[in-house]
Symmetry: C2
Subunit: 224 residues, 2 copies
């Protein structure tokens, strides 16, 4: 019985890693689609998001089944409840990658990111990919140094998000409203992506250290 | 033992109702603050959001304790896991009300909503308040007719959200970028508010009917 349970917990962990890997691919491709106006890639991200949603649903059902059949307590219970929450964050990160791809698709064949903000969005994209990649590795290795890096990249994303507002509200900004709308939404998508990455990182921190300060949900408290 | 458990489940239900009542008050006040440039009200919404966050944390801890101590199965387990998820949605709705209030505060003493879009945002606000109020009553009564109304108001919110884009992208739009940014963000906050209301409504539907179609999370699948 205990062996079966341990195997199931291990499988949960592997599924979170796999889900995070999918998110990593989604944001990577979404960013390339955005920055190079690649329609095919944008469409693949949009289509593949269904697979991330399905992974979440599957993982959640297994968590509930585990709770019912194994009635875990203490650390095991914490692992299962955390998996439920982390899968929700990862699913949401997949949605945000899809939203980035949708903006790229809407503007195709034009580029959604205007001249003058390419560098800012390239940096946002790089930071978001690092967040996703480190989230995957953190879930695999539980190396909390990665959690620190994820928080740092989230801070960077917040700063870059602020930079987009500074650019749009400067006297020089003379872009059509469509561009302002796109930049506003894209900035928010990337900023939220970072928040959810931190949320996963803190939950892993909580699992490893048992310290609830790691479990505060930045996706809930920090988004402006 | 069973009595204690039943009392605790009942308490969970009451706490969700109380939390939803707070969300209802938050979005009501946030909208008044937004539409009348009421700084004091905006600040109260921002401050009160901490209480909603605390309610979520408290509720979640009690859910985990219930899972550990009572080891519920079948319907009881579904109630506890659903409470965990509904509290996350309600917490997020509180955040979105806070975001609306923050935009009102940022623009004070000016109005954040430009002339020409007051009617659209008044309708969004009214729909959002109905969503919140019906969510509270649905959690209390489990009357699934309310779930249908919530879905309808969410559709209305999506339509009004689209209307804001139509206005901003029309040839007549000559507002400064700041206004375009505000309208873009406000529209998104209201649209997401509706999504999370539907998410709670479907979870109640799932609890009442046992039909998983009610449990699909629109906050995850519908936001564009």
């Amino acid at each position: 019985m205990r062996d079966i349970f341990n195997n199931e917990l291990k499988q949960l962990g592997e599924d979170l890693v796999a889900m995070s890997g999918r998110v990593e691919q989604a944001i990577t491709h979404a960013g390339v689609a955005l920055l190079t106006a690649d329609l095919g890639l944008a469409e693949s991200v949009i289509a593949d998001d269904l697979a991330i949603d399905a992974l979440e649903q599957d993982l959640d059902e297994r968590c509930v089944r585990l709770l019912a059949q194994q009635q875990p307590v203490a650390t095991d219970l914490r692992v299962v409840v955390s998996a439920l929450r982390m899968s929700a964050s990862l699913e949401r990160m997949g949605d945000l990658a899809r939203h980035v791809a949708q903006v790229a698709r809407l503007r195709y064949p034009a580029a959604a990111v205007p001249a003058g903000l390419e560098s800012t969005f390239t940096q946002m994209q790089d930071a978001a990919v690092r967040v996703a990649r480190r989230t995957t590795t953190l879930l695999e290795t539980r190396d909390l140094d990665l959690a620190v890096s994820i928080e740092q990249d989230d801070d960077l994303l917040d700063q870059l998000h602020t930079d987009t507002f500074t650019a749009m509200l400067s006297g020089d900004w003379d872009r059509p409203a469509q561009v302002t709308v796109d930049v506003t939404l894209l900035g928010r998508y990337y900023e939220r992506f970072g928040d959810h990455g931190v949320s996963v990182a803190r939950r892993v921190g909580y699992l490893v250290t048992g310290d609830a300060a790691h479990a505060l949900d930045p996706a809930a408290v920090r988004s402006g």
